[in-house]
Symmetry: C2
Subunit: 158 residues, 2 copies
DNA sequence: CCCATATAGTATGACACCAAACTATTGAAG
DNA sequence: CTTCAATAGTTTGGTGTCATACTATATGGG
């Protein structure tokens, strides 16, 4: 939950502007996330799609720990997402041959198809979202967001 | 959950860039949100702080429905957040005199103090976060994010 | 070889969130 | 005045997320 237009004091401090920035990001994430989820097939969620999409684009046969690290979530969070995906038949989780502690996540044919269906379902709303920002605005926004994301990632301890 | 650097195809479509943008926003929200929550006093959460902060800045005596609309969450979500805040003694929820269906949310003295404590607790990490982006970068980022947020808000149906 | 430490995965409990269903009250149309 | 649709708030069930604690397996140093 975040707050809109944290308003206009006469001359907001740098910290206040940053706070506003995080508020805006919170709302954007919430609105875009639920809009996206509403169109996904098979009752898939954003989290579940992210796993499928990762496997499609970057290959499967990763360990849960690798995936958790890639998505910046805890291993516990990923455990439950993987369990739901396995229940839907979209992935298979097998023991790692080399390391008795590890497992490997494999995309099934059905999971591959589901990922494609998600992308197809999302295309119309992404196209529609191009009304929101021009191509140029997106290109101005992205490097700054990436910079912020990288900083946060590197300063996770605080 | 979101994915980092959705990678580099030779020439990504506008839609793909937008998708990347939403991914970055998702990660930023997740990392900044948990960092913020870790420093909040009284076991307060981001959602709970947002309510207190709203009351401090924009006045209390709002209805839950008004707050839910301001924060872009469902009434059901707000119900539970308000219940937790009331249990902590930071707000009081009273019936509305005019409308038998409505209630009014009032900030207690203790709630006022808690909001101030949150802001004090957050100040160091906001100061630290100024390393992430220059003042100028924040000012370039904010209008674009606001534009995107407003568009999403106005196109909630899809 | 044994033990201390690190790592992988899991389980639990708490919170936020949504969607959908439900109750109670209001208000307007007939 | 009655009825019906809209609104306020709540409840339930499912998901994601974290923090914490737990088990099992590796690995490295005596």
């Amino acid at each position: 939950m975040s707050e809109p237009r944290p308003d206009a004091s006469p001359e907001p401090s740098d910290e206040a502007r940053l706070f506003t920035l995080f508020n805006e990001i919170g709302i954007i994430q919430q609105l875009s996330g639920t809009a996206f989820e509403r169109v996904l097939p098979h009752g898939l969620t954003q989290a579940q799609f992210t796993v499928l999409n990762h496997c499609v684009r970057l290959g499967d046969n990763k360990t849960p720990a690798q995936l958790a690290s890639a998505f910046q979530v805890t291993r516990g969070t990923l455990t439950s997402t993987l369990q739901r995906l396995e229940a839907k038949g979209f992935i298979e989780i097998v023991p790692d041959a080399k390391d008795g502690r590890s497992k490997r996540v494999l995309l099934t044919a059905s999971g591959h198809a589901a990922a494609a269906a998600c992308i197809a379902a999302a295309a119309p709303i992404l196209t529609r979202a191009r009304e929101a920002l021009s191509r140029d605005e997106v290109e101005r926004l992205l490097p700054l967001l990436t910079k912020l994301r990288v900083w946060l990632d590197e300063n996770r301890s605080l």
